[in-house]
């Protein structure tokens, strides 16, 4: 776990004191809302539909028990006893009162946490593979690089008032779990001739103009990372459009100028930025890496685990879906589902957060991760501890065995909370999960990712869901468009729109028709939904969803 320096601690204290004074001036009337709004947004504080919302950064999704317990304490003391984990690996509190926010920020600072750059037109919280440092398929842990980028981008004077927000994601594995191709900059750690470097992807993003990022360089030497990133962001800051909010993202800049021209401009700028980096950034990276050293993995007998697998079918089902191979053969990665059927995706109560903290401390080397899929990870667990963990999770309603299945749905807060949303997301997710749980078909269906957004901004990543659902307002009624075939992995693809939208009542039957069509079409139970879709295309699904169109055509 990276420990912040005295400089960081002093910086947070000063920043929080500054914001406390700003809140006081807003409450006294000395600041108008127009004056106060950019200040509160710089500290992660939004005003949403029903209340304020505080978005707290969880850099690269990494936590320890102390931080998780602090998040639980904040949820209980100043909110309604829960928090919402997001697709940006952050946590959001949906009900703080304005006067309490400075105290909340001070409480966060006690464990080195903050809400800086979780909003505004700046470089946002850097995200990373949620299995970082533990995955069996990993080239290297991407988190030290993410931490270096966090330090580089925090309060960077050139990048505080850019055309729009800017999101960076990094993965150290060839299997992309960080959605790198749908970020402003995606970074893939690669090796060439024994040397470590980076493939840099630029101009991805979802929202109203979804685009898959393009490779600007397939191998960037390690020492060039920060100057090259600085060159990219600097070029975009200079030529990115500011005339239209919806065209102000780098994906539009790349699209309008072409990747070759952007590459030329970045290379040109890089000549300048390279000179300003003395190499201290690489020294810092080496120091940071020391903070992310793997734990001293314990040796223990795995026989109890093997016995439990044979004895308890429910435990076996949970391990089949929620446990992933670890780099150490005797260890495992545990994904704790925050998608219990019928619950709100991504929400965790204070009690659940505390249990996860306890488990991390007792069985998980004090390591916790948040996934962009709104679940919680214990990245290092000895297999002998898995039965105990399962029992403890079950008692707190956290042992749902559905990771990667149809009820493991990403859902943004939607119109229930978000001021931008045009329809609700949460009830749709709840209905789908409950319906398929009632039918007990999830495991038969297998791997299938549903992602739901309550508006065109696509916080629920619907474009890259195998089944994507977008909630819209059609003449004062909630209406849901469906896309199929989206993919967030290294084979990233934006889904295909199936046709006219569905009313809220029609969504679950529509999903059932899609699933039935898949089950009829698949060549074997091993052929996953996305593979069937790639093989057959949209036509059979469209025919199932709009039979009247087929009849009319005949």
């Amino acid at each position: 776990m990276y420990s912040y320096s005295e400089f960081d601690t002093a910086f947070l204290a000063e920043r929080n004191a500054q914001f406390r004074a700003q809140v006081e001036r807003r409450i006294s009337g000395a600041l108008t809302e127009d004056e106060f709004k950019p200040l509160r947004l710089m500290n992660g504080l939004y005003l949403q539909r029903h209340a304020y919302m505080l978005r707290v950064a969880i850099p690269y999704g990494t936590l320890n028990a102390a931080k998780m317990r602090k998040l639980a304490e904040i949820a209980e003391r100043w909110d309604k006893g829960y928090g919402h984990f997001t697709t940006r690996q952050n946590i959001q509190y949906n009900w703080p009162e304005l006067k309490d926010v400075p105290d909340m920020l001070d409480a966060l600072a006690e464990v080195g946490m903050h809400a800086i750059q979780t909003s505004g037109n700046t470089i946002r919280n850097v995200t990373a593979d949620h299995f970082a440092g533990a995955a069996a398929d990993e080239i290297a842990d991407p988190r030290p690089v993410a931490e270096l980028m966090r330090q580089w981008s925090t309060d960077h004077p050139e990048f505080q008032f850019m055309p729009r927000k800017f999101k960076i994601a990094i993965t150290g594995s060839p299997n992309d779990r960080a959605v790198t191709r749908a970020h402003d900059i995606g970074i893939r750690m690669v090796e060439r001739d024994g040397a470590r470097g980076y493939e840099i992807i630029v101009g991805g993003g979802l929202g109203r103009t979804p685009m898959i990022g393009k490779v600007i360089t397939d191998f960037l030497p390690e020492a060039d990372l920060l100057p090259y990133l600085e060159a990219i962001v600097s070029v975009w800051n200079q030529i990115g459009r500011r005339d239209n909010k919806y065209k102000a993202r780098i994906k539009i800049t790349v699209h309008e100028h072409g990747i070759d021209e952007i590459r030329r401009l970045v290379e040109e700028r890089f000549v300048e930025t390279r000179k300003t980096f003395s190499g201290v950034d690489v020294q810092m990276l080496r120091e940071i890496e020391g903070h992310f050293a793997p734990p001293a993995f314990v040796q223990a007998d795995t026989a109890p685990y093997a016995r439990a697998l044979e004895t308890y079918p429910a435990f076996r089902a949970w391990t089949d879906t929620n446990v992933t191979p670890h780099r150490d053969a005797d260890h495992a990665i545990v994904t704790i589902s925050l998608k219990k059927h019928g619950d709100t995706p991504g929400d965790a109560s204070a009690a659940q957060m505390r249990l996860i903290a306890d488990l991390a401390e007792t069985y998980g080397y004090d390591e916790i991760r948040i996934s962009h899929e709104q679940n919680v990870i214990l990245p290092h667990v000895h297999k002998a501890s898995l039965p105990s963990i399962y029992s403890a999770l079950r008692a707190e309603g956290l042992a749902t065995a559905n990771i990667g299945l149809i009820s493991d749905i990403i859902a943004c807060p939607g119109m229930d909370y978000c001021a931008l949303a045009t329809a609700r997301s949460i009830p749709i997710a709840q209905e789908i999960a409950t319906a398929f749980d009632d039918l007990k078909r999830e495991h038969e269906i297998g791997a299938l990712k549903i992602k739901i957004s309550g508006c065109i901004n696509a916080c629920g990543h619907h474009h890259v869901g195998h089944i994507g659902i977008l909630g819209l307002d059609r003449a004062g009624v909630e209406n849901y468009q469906i896309t199929l075939g989206g993919d967030h992995t290294e084979q990233a693809k934006v889904g295909d729109r199936v046709g006219p939208g569905f009313s809220a009542d029609e969504v679950v039957p529509a999903i059932e028709r899609i699933v039935d069509t898949y089950l009829d079409l698949r060549t074997s139970p091993e052929e996953e939904f996305i593979d069937t879709y790639r093989r057959t295309g949209l036509a059979p699904f469209k025919a199932a969803l709009y039979p009247e169109t087929k009849v009319a055509a005949e």
Partner: protein
């Protein structure tokens, strides 16, 4: 022919708590049923200006369409319905006050 003016209420978020509030004849209420219904466009514009000037109490005031049923205003758009009743996943928003 000018479009008929539909009844409206002035609504906003409370500065300190952030929750949804409605302008009444002499203040603010958290209950839509207590809101002042504005049936005249000039009156509505004036009341909105008054509300917008209360910068130390409210944020983001605007006019929302309502219908009047049994003498009380009710939302005509689902967004305003959710603002009046709270989120649909937990009964701990306005539902608590309304029950």
């Amino acid at each position: 022919m000018p479009k008929a003016f539909t009844p409206k209420v002035v609504t906003a978020n409370h500065l300190l708590a952030g929750d949804v509030i409605y302008q009444t004849a002499d203040g603010w209420s958290r209950k839509l049923e207590e809101a002042e219904v504005l049936t005249d466009e000039a009156d509505a514009d004036l009341r909105l200006i008054e509300a917008s000037q209360q910068v130390d109490e409210v944020v983001g005031a605007y006019l929302a369409d309502v219908a009047v049923e049994d003498g009380v205003p009710v939302p005509t758009h689902f967004r305003e319905e959710f603002r009046a009743t709270g989120p649909s996943n937990y009964a701990h928003g306005k539902q608590v006050e309304l029950s």
